[in-house]
Symmetry: C2
Subunit: 171 residues, 2 copies
């Protein structure tokens, strides 16, 4: 039993020691998010749709897309999400729909892109953040470390019971 405990402690220590290395590695690439080293996955814009949302305070429309592993997990309804799952959150400023020179009443559509964000499941690499790595990008470039420090704490505070994922599948 002591040997098992030692091994567990060893793994945790190993993770803590390795994590800063991964961080450093992630930060060396201009296109990778700080802390997590997440990059924009190719072809994500063609992924299937999980659900839209509306962020009132930010006046944003958002859509979550999922890679095939994510959609398979949603279909099965089983938690936690498997390693390899990636969720993409696309966000745009909400603007009125204009056709010709007329505003179509009460209809709002995507305006300028604000952020594109990703959650990548890798239970070993991201063991200290619930198995998830995060990446937030503006115009293809990752935002700073301070912004990335807010990702996990918010997901942990509100969505821990769903493996840290806010978004449910919209039928």
């Amino acid at each position: 039993m002591k040997r098992v405990s030692f091994s567990v402690i060893g793994i945790v220590m190993w993770t803590c020691l390795i994590a800063p290395v991964a961080v450093t590695a992630g930060r060396t690439a201009d296109n990778a998010s700080p802390i997590y080293g997440v990059t924009i996955p190719p072809g994500y814009r063609q992924w299937a749709m999980v659900a839209p949302s509306h962020e009132l305070g930010l006046h944003e429309l958002r859509v979550i897309l999922g890679n095939p592993q994510a959609m398979d997990a949603y279909e099965k309804g089983a938690l936690p999400y498997p390693d390899g799952t990636i969720l993409a959150k696309l966000a745009w400023k909400q603007v009125p729909l204009v056709e010709g020179h007329e505003i179509v009443p009460d209809a709002f559509v995507p305006g300028p892109t604000t952020t594109v964000q990703f959650m990548v499941k890798n239970s070993k690499r991201y063991a200290v953040t619930g198995g998830w790595g995060f990446g937030r990008f503006i115009d293809g470039k990752p935002v700073d470390k301070a912004q990335h420090e807010t990702c996990f704490s918010c997901h942990a505070a509100h969505a821990k019971g769903h493996d840290y994922v806010f978004t449910r599948y919209a039928p």
Copy 2:
């Protein structure tokens, strides 16, 4: 020249004569929309995402999905959309995001499904409505003829300049 004109008139007359037959055929199937005979295309929920929208008056979140022909046409940016294009509009009542027993401030997500709607491009079959057939469904069943009579007039009034399609691709 007279012969050409006669041919054109002939085609128009033929279309007008054939159209009611198609209508009758469409109405005989319980799962097909009145007027147009549009049915729910298999697998549409896995199609790629064109754009979300927010209908303020109806408190609805909506997402347009497109079949491969639709996405190809969006990518090329060429109008009109080719025959075979299908666009799907999924709509849900917008509800606050609740995690545990807490409302997450300012975040709204899909609640109950309201309608699922389709635009099907077939320039011959639907020649009198800009080449588009329409289908509006609630719980898998098409709504009545009166509701379907409103589809084309609204698209024609507001979106004729974009081949009767409101929704632009959201990058």
